[in-house]
Amino acid sequence: MADTTLGTAPGTRPALFLRNATGLVKAWSTFDAFVYSFWSINLITLGLYGMSYVYTVPDGQLLAGILLFGVLVTFLVITYAMLVSVMPRTGGDYAWQSRVLGGGLGFVLSITGWWFTLFLWAPIYANILVVQFFSPLAYTLGWTGVAMFFTSKTGIFVSCLIVLAFVSIVVTMGMETYARIQKVCFWIGLAGLAVVCGILLFYSQSDFQNAFNREATQLFNAPANAYQGTIDAASKTFGGSSFGTFTFGPVLLLLPWLAFYLLWPNWGATLYGEVRGAKDIRKPFWSMFAGLWVTVAMVAVVVLLINKTIGWNFYQSANAAYWNNLFAVPNAAAPPVPIWPYPVMFAGFLVNNHLFQALLIIVMGLWFFGWAGTLFLSSTRVIFAAAFDRVLPAWAANISAKRRVPYGSLVLMIVPSLVVSAIYAYKPDFTSVFLDATAVLALTFLATVVAAVILPWRRKDLYDASPIAQYKIAGVPVISIVGAITGLFLLYMLYQWSFNPDNLYGTSLQKTPNSVIYFVATYVVAVVVYVIARVVRNRQGIDLRRIHHEIPVE
């Protein structure tokens, strides 16, 4: 028998009486959800990697850019938190777009972003693993051969295989185990970051110059004064950068670069369908909001410390020299230290002990391993949702009985990722395709935001029954207002990615035909999959159009 019904605390007036019933649980900790959001916009892995490109906008004041981006993404966070509150569905973007925009459009727009485009992220993750872990660690330990291997084509491909294996293991072990691992990585990673910041805080720029020159010679056999040598090498293609310069236009041009890591506080939104209590808008909002702004604050601290101790012009010169040499920009010269400018490694140089430096890189590597495991987690949920809607075959949502491994969706993610990884490693011509990985996800978000804007009219029933129906400004639903602001922000970035006249982001449509062909192909494939599904299911007596048709109440 049921134990009892639930009253209220003494002295308070009850708003409702609850009885003991399945599923009545106490709210999840906002901190736990914050950790997931925090990892999604990882300031070390994606953050430092993405920001290493901002040398392309030398007059763009990075701190102002980060703060502006934080403000604009807050509207994205509010929009997604409101959608979670109205429809806390597993599948996130797919479910919202399907229910509001229609099944076909929802499938095409979300599946290209959450399925096809994530193939591209596997090699991006692999490259980050190389430049932030394998390569600096191997150089620090004096294993030059290993370091060189991981910068070779085969080395990059091996790193891709390691990432895919790691992601598969995480999906297999399940989120509960990985959440524990994430927490350990979170605290140790934070401790590592505190050490990095402490070192950068207490040492001076001249200390860093001496340390850099010493380690450049010891670890990389670079000639004397590699610090100046790096600036000189960069000067062939880069005019220098000052941290104090502020012009509003260039700040706006920074936004598409910052999107590479700061656009994803909503990454876990595809999972909220599994979260009881998600209908309470405060929980998903504060989780994503805190993840975003804690990261923004940390990035600000890191950027200020880089400016103070490493020197802004040197740091940007090192980035320019590395990337321009790698991308074979005309007149580019090879930097004396042939490694991606990793601020963690640079901070480690300030302590003249290679064991300490290696330990610091390993500890900061936990930022990668606590984060990368969720690469396909959201994708598998979207594939599940499409399979349950009968758009994809039923086996796509199959789970093994013994270990609960979603092998169908894993195969659909891993196999294409292997092919894409091989292309990434062995076909440099396709680089622009990978640079577009952010833009396509932004397009998926844009479709969701459009769904949010029209939700109060298109699905009035759902909206009116939701907790957010009470939020209006001058009679206009808040979700439509914040959605419209987010939409304009995303449209601006999509315009810059696609049409920037200087091809600033390496993704302008006119300059990157491979990229255009790839992405048009993915949308065509998505349309073809949906049309085939419609025809096949129709023959089976299943009308895919009726999945989301509302049954009349009266």
């Binding site: 049921a2 009850p14 009486f17 019933a21 399945t22 599923g23 369908g273 979260v275």
Partner: protein, 311 residues
Amino acid sequence: MPKVFFATDLHGSEVCWKKFLNAAKFYGADVLICGGDMTGKAIVPIVAENGHYTVTLGGERQAVTADQVAEVEGNIRRKGYYPLQMTVERLQELDHDPAKRAECFQEVMLEGVDRWMKLAADKLRGTGIRCFVCPGNDDEMEVDDVIRRAELVELGEGRLVEIEGFAMISTGWSNPTPWKTHREESEEELARRIDAMASQVPDQSHAIFNLHCPPFKSGLDEAPAIDADLRLLHGGRALRPVGSTAVREAIERHQPLLSLHGHIHESKGALKIGKTLSINPGSAYEEGMLMGALIQLDPKKGIKSYQLVNG
């Protein structure tokens, strides 16, 4: 060829119940099956005081006039809660006395189920549509009697019923949960309960197992992990299989054509366990959305097609 519409875990949502009744016409179904947990989890007091009524909805306390009470009651029912008008004294009495609160809950729940049965009679009379309801672990035992008395709704619990050449057995009992609800028992007892019905099924290739609790480790039974204090772990993202081993073993041993489940709202899905198609359509009763499964049965093919829908 019977076309079945299955939905479950409506938890007192009157909008969902009305949609459930209308689903037959909407989808062209001949048979409606409601899988259990019909009754709501909460009473929202509408307190008469000082010439008006006060009610707290969505955390916001508001005062309404007598004319507005009907609309407020409708909004409350839509979410699956029971609105109940009362005096301040009655409110205090219910707050302080668990026995009276339990008695009040039973009263409003049974009254709600009775109203639903009457709605069903109004909607289904003369249509030839059969409607089965099998209360779930959250439904008190007295609910069965209300359904037995219904004009056009058939009680499924513990029975083998024939549906145009297909045999259906039903139970809303589940394995133990942390909430100690009304119809829980050990896996062994649940196995015996299911076997007692399953052994009467003449042909498993034409059998439907309507078992509220999903099979263990099937993917239809993944619920957010909680601690001993019922607090969600890891931001609610960590999932654990909480289904029944007895249900799984019964499906694996008897291999019915179809098994229908609910219980775990978040674990929507459909999958094959051997020859059996197992379905949990999930539940979104709080939004007034009816999640269901549409299954076209065929005397020769067994299952001609199935589809999970969000009405």
